[in-house]
Symmetry: C2
Subunit: 152 residues, 2 copies
DNA sequence: TTGTGATAGTTACAGATGTAACTATCAAGA
DNA sequence: TCTTGATAGTTACATCTGTAACTATCACAA
């Protein structure tokens, strides 16, 4: 039986993702007490300007209930505003309030800086190799995404 | 603000890990109703033969409470047996029962086959590049591991 | 021997998650 | 108009998770 967890692809992947998530989330959890789903909603709206809950789920690969709860929480903070669609009343257009934009403006550079710091631990050539490997992994996994499950 | 979730490293990583986890876990969840932590304990003991709960946590990078619960569950199935250490009575040596070994023997080849099938979607050269990228990622993240947090 | 600090492992609790069921709305055709 | 099936989004429920506190044991030194 030659299955060793340490060299087994899904295991290594989960471990790396968990470590990365823990290191990155420290930034926004420490500064604003945001959860991962909340941060993702903030980032999606910060980048897209406006989006529906379904659209956020598609972009951020989160389950719709997760999006629903994160949006509700951010709305309570007054960081996200809802606006009903005139034509289709099932739809709600979400966007950041000024306070939400301010928070995103404060967080985004720190997140990007940490990403750079992390990659900076490697040589430029290694960085390219890492990103190439990640892209190939996505190719093998058939990444396209919609509201998919997250744990498993 | 040029932070786009789609090109952001921790996000891509989490998404890939979630997809991989979902695809792999389908095998043991469908066939035996095992959870991820249970499968990891099974795999660790299947490979190591015998180990303590702490040792399993170190090998599989799971929190000790997770290990504790997975072991308790596998013990109820009669797949894992405990044996107290004579010299240090805090320690328990865990090992697979014949039934546990049989389950592992049935699962391990399927897991390895799926890993191969997944990598087989890439050319041999791409496979090498993927694994190289993963190793570099682990290097950048400083992977060494002990009983660390998993979500975040 | 007694006390101190460390270690192995379990459990109570609160928080996060996915599934399934639900409400409300829409589109399109009979 | 009415029905059918799809879609946007929320919520009840059970399950899973980590934190912190706990028991029990050990090593070691006063």
């Amino acid at each position: 039986m030659d299955l060793r967890l340490e060299t087994f692809l899904p295991y290594r992947l989960n471990r790396a993702a968990a470590m990365s998530s823990r290191q990155f989330s420290h930034i926004y959890r420490h500064e604003f007490g945001l959860t991962v789903p909340e941060w993702r909603v903030l980032a999606t709206l910060g980048h897209r300007g406006t989006a529906s809950a379904t659209g956020i789920g598609r972009d951020s690969a989160m389950h719709k209930t997760k999006v629903s709860r994160a949006v509700a929480s951010l709305q309570q903070r007054r960081w996200v505003a809802r606006e009903a669609d005139e034509a289709d009343r099932r739809l709600e257009h979400l966007s950041l309030t000024p306070a939400g934009r301010a928070a995103f403006a404060r967080l985004a550079p720190k997140m990007l800086a940490f990403e750079e710091e992390l990659l900076g631990r490697l040589t430029p050539r290694e960085q390219r190799e890492l990103l190439k490997g990640l892209a190939l992994l996505e190719k093998a996994l058939g990444v396209k995404m919609a509201g998919e499950k997250e744990a498993g």
